[in-house]
Symmetry: none
Subunit: 420 residues, 2 copies
């Protein structure tokens, strides 16, 4: 079954709102195994809407509409469809009563055009709107399925989830299940990842393997279709194993895990505490870690030492060290990590110092970053980055790299050594 999602509304074409409805519906359809081939957005114009529907009829088995069910003259989705399919619009008793009650409850007076909202296509299944006035509709005509949904996301989402999805599953007599697993990578580019797993990408079928880069990570999504969840997992397993053999060292997590949740998880399960000394990132590393609920048992806190004076005064970094090596140096990163660990009585101290940009800093070019990680009494590990983005992209990537290196170090860490 091939689906097309048509959003109707000039406000979308004017760029006043984003079409989040298409994303929501697509994600739900993917879960039940319905392929979405197109999204279309068209304005409140009957002629262009009609042409859009004609195109959709020529290429889709399921056409889902969002928007254009409201009370105003601009709202013409159901009128246009009724016209095209030579169908009648009739007032739905339940919907009308609901609208009347809505006005009674809110103490406002109902205008004539609100009655228009209760009109539904004759013969369609009416989808109740629990969070607004316009009901939705679902029906089949000439082997094609039509679903009409209201535009406001808080009305559309529960209606789609609770009424349209069951309608579709029922119509499809669906037995198939879809299972996805997302592998998350860091420290490797999208192109290089694809290059390394090209043999798998070339052979993929079930599961399908799709690469995707987000602002945080590069991912591979493995999606299998099967008759049971167990069978779907069995199909994914050997392919995942193959991928891990090829590029496993860049995998930091799966599915909903982020760099921050993974790092927080490792800190918690290993019962470690951390403190940070941040220069160019100015608190962003700690803030990112603190986005994970329950972090307070692991994150003691830390310092933002944005200028040299703060480094010297707050963390006793020696002026000589800074004069000799500069603040953007392995030596400074080591000193910061060591000192903040001690100051906050933590098992781990981590530091970020560098030149965010736009200007060079202390003789180092924009984008140069040093990360220091002190675990227990182990020698402090340092990592150098040479980033090439804008100032704030560099700061964000420095935070992500720090989380990534922390994860790697924690996975490799010998706990006995740390805890002695």
């Amino acid at each position: 079954m091939k689906a097309e999602i048509i959003a109707v509304g000039s406000e979308l074409l004017l760029g006043q709102i984003t079409n989040t409805n298409a994303q929501f519906i697509s994600a739900r359809l993917a879960e039940v195994g319905i392929d979405v081939y197109y999204h279309t957005v068209v304005g409140d114009n009957p002629l262009r809407l009609e042409k859009t529907i004609e195109i959709a009829q020529s290429r889709a088995d399921l056409i889902i509409f969002t928007g254009g069910l409201g009370p105003t003259k601009d709202d013409l989705t159901k009128e246009t469809i009724a016209n095209m399919l030579h169908s009648e619009l009739e007032s739905d008793e339940i919907a009308l009563r609901f609208i009347e009650n809505y006005f009674k409850r809110s103490g406002r007076s109902m205008t004539e055009n609100n009655k228009k909202q209760a009109l539904v296509l004759s013969g369609s299944e009416v989808l109740e709107n629990r969070f607004g006035m316009a009901p939705g509709m679902a029906f089949e005509r000439d082997g094609q399925h039509y679903i009409l949904l209201p535009g406001p996301p808080h009305e559309m989402r529960p209606m789609f989830e609770n009424m349209a999805i069951p309608y579709l599953l029922n119509k499809l007599g669906k037995k198939e299940v879809i299972v996805s697993r997302v592998l998350k990578f860091y420290g490797i580019g999208e192109a290089e990842l694809e290059f390394r797993v090209q043999s798998i990408l070339a052979e993929q079928r079930n599961p399908t393997v799709a690469p995707l880069a987000s602002s945080e990570a590069v991912t591979l999504r493995l999606t299998s279709k099967a008759h049971s969840v167990e069978e779907a997992h069995r199909l994914i397993e050997p392919v995942e194993k193959q991928i891990r053999m090829l590029v496993g060292k860049f995998i930091y997590g799966i599915d909903e895990e982020t760099l921050a949740t993974k790092a927080a998880d490792l800190l918690k399960t290993k019962d470690l505490t951390i403190a940070a000394a941040e220069s160019l990132t100015a608190g962003q590393f700690m803030a990112e870690l603190a986005s994970v609920p329950g972090i307070s048992s692991s994150l003691n806190g830390g310092v933002v030492v944005y200028n040299e004076k703060a480094k010297v005064e707050q963390l006793n970094i020696s002026k000589e060290l800074l004069d000799q090596f500069g603040v953007v140096s392995a030596e400074c990163a080591i000193a910061l990590a060591t000192q903040v660990k001690k100051k906050y009585s933590s098992t781990i101290g981590i530091s970020l110092t560098g030149a965010a940009g736009p200007d060079p800093h202390d003789g180092e070019p924009m984008g140069t970053v040093w990360i220091g990680i002190a675990i227990g009494d182990n020698p402090v590990k340092t990592f150098k980055l040479q980033l090439s983005g804008s100032r704030n992209a560099n700061r964000k990537r420095a935070v992500n790299f720090a989380l990534y290196y922390l994860i790697i170090e924690l996975q490799n860490a010998d706990l006995d050594t740390i805890l002695n």
Copy 2:
């Protein structure tokens, strides 16, 4: 000129990401008077992409593509277009050098498929990508304009703004100028703002007045069309004045100003230094302030005191005070702001303490936040928030409110008092 925006990418059809690019491009096109008639999303499938382009060619004068310019086999936008238009792809020297330098700088090895990113349609104007590797393209063929842009928003947006818009204005020989002014509000909801300025919204024509809520602020965008920039400004002026009379006290900035840039500006022009003590926000306030270039002369740094122990040990907050009032209290906020100001020898100390959630904290319900602002030797001002979002929404809003209150205090501050 009628435009269609085609986004290419299966991840959009799977519901993994939202098509925010279409909104951004549409809003900018509306400003320069180009009507967008359709948005289309199609997957990484050459046949369906070709059909989509054919449809667009039959109904649009300007076709803008986003996505599908990357290095992988899935990326096939320019290949498909070249094929359809019997055009050649040739390597762009500048783009290739840029990609090579990118890899050199980041110390990673360039794979063969990265070279594919430097291929451009022969005869097209190459649009430089300052934040990624794939260049954009613009060209005219048979009276239709084609613009190809990369998919990642942080690459697409500056390219569209700085290169595609000038290209279009030039091609259109536009004599009309469009001038926009964005008024930025904080501390007032979108609905209330609209209610208060409803008379202006009802009468608007030139300039148009459009409300828009973003994650940071509520804004009103005034857009006027005229024959000269001066005339456009003259049209905006009286309307802006009217708005400022009605709701001026909620306006914190204009145009590209953010809460962070505005606060940074005030700190700089008033020659003040600041340090922060952050609990629930864990460094996010400082990180946000540090997103502004050149902040190092104003931001001394600060501490993240995530747990009670850190508050006591790092900032000498008395255990008795915390026992009596709790960490989520005006008293704690005052003590934190005062101490961090002293510790970092700053003119201003600011503190954020509260219950981010998901659980209550120290007897206070989730969403309760206290902000303390100590300026010079003035009595410390405190502000209480009662937020109702998720944990991280609350943390972000606490940061925004802290910046907003800081701006208000700095605007009202009597400098003589501060500097004595």
